[in-house]
């Protein structure tokens, strides 16, 4: 099977973002970067499918030169080769710009299966997989828990709200966005890291005229920051107040 896994390099999850001067993006020169964690689950699923069905896993990403590091991390875990659509602007591009860039480099490969994470830790659009599928003209399904490869098709388990699930069969080629936490992520082994140095990263040039369809007008720190609200009063009063807050404020109970 020829499997593509699309990954994104994002600033480290615990990095404190600071807004740049014109308030349209963050000052990320001092940030450390890592592979978007939801994409790591997609990669793990891709590697397991390859181990089961044979074939190759090609990891794809679009962005500035530093993205090569994320691709190496994925290669160190067992991906066979990589495609890097290099473009500085794509770091802040929306899903349409990124998907178009990826699609342009991926079309020629004729992948059987394309896997992505659910969304990215930085912008969190949760769109790129679906947009990519439509641009490639292939079927897609999202929030996938299990993948079962069949001849010319794939039967997947979709997660629905409220503890419900659904099996869906779609023809290959297809794009699947993978739910996080469905498998145990492997670590980069020493042998994997040594082998990754010798694996191919194909550089691709993005098409001209890539444009995002949305634009950040203003980026700012929200007023509400996470703080522990201690609820006082007698046990009965505190209990009542807690129930009220959970119901009306946090809205986690009905």
């Amino acid at each position: 099977m020829k499997i593509a896994v699309c990954i994104k390099q994002v600033p480290a999850r615990d990095w404190q973002p600071r807004v740049n001067d014109d308030r349209t993006w963050v000052r990320d020169q001092d940030a450390s970067f890592e592979v978007n964690e939801p994409d790591a689950y997609a990669l793990e699923e891709g590697l397991r499918l390859k181990e089961k069905h044979g074939g190759e896993v090609v990891v794809c990403s679009a962005g500035p030169a530093r993205v090569a590091q994320a691709l190496r991390e994925a290669l160190a875990r067992g991906a066979d080769r990589a495609i890097h659509v290099e473009d500085d602007g794509l770091a802040r591009g929306d899903a349409f710009a990124v998907a178009e860039a990826l699609a342009s480099a991926m079309r020629v490969e004729q992948f059987d299966l394309v896997l992505t994470g659910l969304q990215s830790d930085d912008q969190g659009f949760a769109q790129t997989g679906g947009v990519l599928a439509e641009m490639l003209g292939i079927a897609s399904a999202t929030i996938i828990m299990e993948v079962d490869v069949q001849p010319g098709a794939v039967r997947v388990k979709r997660e629905l709200e409220g503890g419900w699930f659904q099996f869906v069969t779609l023809p290959l080629p297809a794009v699947l966005t993978i739910q996080s936490g469905i498998n145990q992520l492997r670590y980069a082994t020493l042998k994997g890291i040594m082998a990754a140095k010798r694996k191919e990263i194909r550089k691709a040039v993005p098409p001209a005229g890539l444009a995002s369809r949305q634009r950040i007008v203003s980026l700012y720190v929200p007023e509400k920051t996470k703080r522990t609200e201690m609820i006082g009063g007698s046990p009965v009063e505190a209990a009542k107040e807690l129930v009220r807050r959970l119901r009306d404020e946090a809205r986690v109970i009905s």
Binding site: A12, R13, D14, W15, Q16, E34, E37, Q184, L185, R186, Y187, A188, T189, L190, K191, G192, I193, M194
Partner: protein, 608 residues
């Protein structure tokens, strides 16, 4: 002697010598084929020779812990050495060389040997009785027939020697002589194939043993080293260790895993290695030789290596085999997650740097500035994130401030890599180490203070292999140093749990006790304490392994500490504290725990 007798003797000696050489040759080949990992750091040879004198000549380790047995062995050993010249002279005569047996000096010498012979007889008889009738668990379930046979050889040799005084010439004397000679020759031939090979090998292994406990050198990635995967990869020192093992079982009885019903038995590991080497199946995986599960039961406490009287180093073998597994992706699931945490967040729990920042701010810590601060306060993973240990750290900060010691913390810390190193993830360890060393150097760090014994060992010893040498001290040692003026009357009865990485690894067993006594505690010790404590069970990555065979190591140690009857258990390591408190919670038992620094702070405030 009759000429015919001499010729027969020559033939016999030749035959036995050939048999001996064949045995040696096999083992020598195994040794030479293995990769050469033997290196003596500059300037250490003197100290090591002195070590051989202490441990081999004077049997310091065999006598420590088992005085009677050790002395008996000393008697047998010295007896052997004393007899060497005697045997040489008799053989010379037997082979047809000059007969010195009638000389004055020889006869005097022989008489002087009598007390040695008696000492050997007493010693060996005692040891045989111990082995056959007392049957200590350390010696294993089955009585070693080989040992009993050797024992009787030795008795025979002494008896024939003594008989010789009463027999002059005649058939009886000749028979006596031949029995003696044949027993010696048999013994010599048996040596390589038995644990008595230690007679030849142990001075070498004692000399070659690293001066650092659990010395597992860095892997050289340029040379594509990945660790010990198959028997082929076993190194020269490890081959020698396999042959030098005397099967005394000291490692076994001190191993916390073995003591709590797990499969891991350090003695068995060494003997399995020996059996596998001699079987010659060099492509067999080490994980199959030892059992994969066994390799993950080791806490790296070092009790085995520390007790061994013949210089066997168990930890390089265990950690080397772990490397072989981990380099190929075969680490336990719990550790795989930890490796991902270390890669992403630079700490073992995968928590964010903002969490650490919260503590730094709440504790009023300053960012390290070499112009202002004497010490870099190294928090470590536990110091950054573990709320309970942070209480102990706050006490330390208060003590330091009371005593005018200046210190600051780094803006960002990454794990020292201790867990990566001890579980065999060498790549990750080296990455973390290099980053930290760069950070220390860039920040102008000269002295480091830490409350975590694991960080102490890793930064202070393991980083030296990267050429980084820094002054690093554990809080108990520094605080002991800066409170010499204090004396508080004794009011508390406590017991102290020695952290393996502070006591056994770093040699600091006295300072915590000095502090406790100085600050009003009387200490009641569990049986296993000081330089030979019983591990809490956290080391070697086992902090994250929640499914244990047999009894939990932490539970066992907690019971030992509770059995002292002390009201309070004092700890000086974040991981000991996590394990013992966890054991207490699971057992739902009572008991007070206090960090050493909190104990001291409480008392210091009363006198300050």
């Amino acid at each position: 002697m009759h000429p015919a007798e001499i010729w027969i003797f020559r033939f016999v000696v030749l035959a036995f010598a050939a048999a001996f050489a064949a045995q040696i040759a096999t083992r020598l080949r195994l040794f030479l084929r293995a990769s050469n990992n033997i290196r003596i750091p500059d300037g250490e040879s003197g100290a090591r020779i002195w070590r051989v004198v202490r441990e081999v000549v004077f049997q310091s380790r065999t006598i420590a812990g088992r005085p009677l047995v050790g002395l008996a062995h000393l008697g047998v050993f010295w007896g052997f050495c004393a007899f060497a010249l005697f045997t040489a002279v008799e053989f010379l005569r037997g082979l047809g060389g000059p007969d010195l047996t009638m000389t004055r000096w020889f006869e005097t010498y022989a008489l002087l040997l009598v007390p040695f012979a008696l000492a050997v007889l007493v010693g060996i008889t005692g040891l045989i009785i111990r082995r056959v009738f007392v049957r200590p668990p350390a010696l294993g379930e089955h009585v070693s027939k080989e040992s009993v046979v050797i024992g009787f050889f030795i008795i025979t040799l002494m008896v024939t020697f003594l008989l010789d005084f009463g027999l002059t010439e005649g058939v009886a004397a000749r028979v006596n002589w031949w029995v003696h000679a044949l027993v010696i020759l048999s013994f010599i031939v048996v040596i390589p194939g038995s644990k008595h090979f230690h007679l030849l090998v142990s001075p070498v292994t004692v000399y070659l043993r690293s001066s650092t406990l659990a010395m597992v050198p860095n892997l050289d990635f340029e040379r594509e080293q990945v660790g010990l995967e198959t028997l082929k990869d076993v190194e020269r020192k490890q081959v020698l260790d396999a042959f030098t093992c005397v099967e005394c079982g000291r490692c076994q009885v001190n191993c916390p895993a073995h003591a709590t019903g797990k499969l891991l038995n350090p003695k068995k590991l060494i003997l399995q290695n020996e059996d596998a080497l001699l079987a010659g199946t060099m492509d067999v995986k080490l994980a199959d030789v030892f059992g994969r599960a066994v390799l993950w039961q080791c806490t790296t406490c070092g009790a085995c290596e520390n007790q061994c009287p013949v210089g066997v180093e168990h930890l390089p073998l265990v950690i080397g085999a772990r490397r072989g597994l981990v380099s190929n992706g075969d680490a336990p699931d719990a550790l795989g997650a930890v490796y991902n945490h270390l890669e992403r967040r630079g700490n073992i729990w995968g928590l964010g740097a903002d969490e650490r920042q919260k503590f730094v701010q709440a504790a009023g810590l300053e960012i390290f500035d070499p112009a202002k601060h004497e010490y870099l306060m190294w928090l470590g993973c536990a110091g950054a994130f573990e709320a309970d240990f942070q209480k102990g750290l706050r006490s330390l900060f208060a003590i330091l401030r009371m005593r005018g010691i200046t210190f600051g913390v780094l803006a960002k810390e990454r794990c020292t890599g201790d867990l990566a190193k001890r579980t065999g993830n060498e790549y990750q360890f080296q990455e973390l180490a290099r980053t930290n060393i760069e950070g220390f150097t860039a920040a102008g760090v000269k002295k480091i203070l830490t409350s975590c014994p694991h960080c102490l060992r890793t930064i202070g010893v393991d980083y030296q292999e990267f050429g980084y040498a820094v002054d690093i001290v554990h809080s108990s040692v520094l605080v002991a140093d800066i409170t010499k003026d204090v004396a508080v009357p004794v009011t508390d009865r406590v017991t102290f749990h020695d952290p393996c990485y502070l006591g056994r690894y770093s040699g600091h067993t006295e300072e915590p006790r000095v502090l406790l006594r100085r600050f009003g505690a009387s200490i009641v010790e569990p049986t296993r304490h000081g330089a030979n404590p019983f591990c809490c069970g956290a080391g070697g990555g086992l902090l994250f392994e929640e499914h244990e065979e047999g009894t939990r190591i932490s539970q066992e140690r907690l019971e030992q500490l509770q059995a002292t009857g002390a009201a309070t258990i004092v700890t000086a390591c974040p991981f000991c504290s996590i394990m013992l408190k966890g054991a207490q919670a699971s057992a739902n038992s009572a008991g007070e725990f206090v960090d050493l620094m909190t104990f001291v702070e409480g008392k210091l405030k009363t006198v300050q």
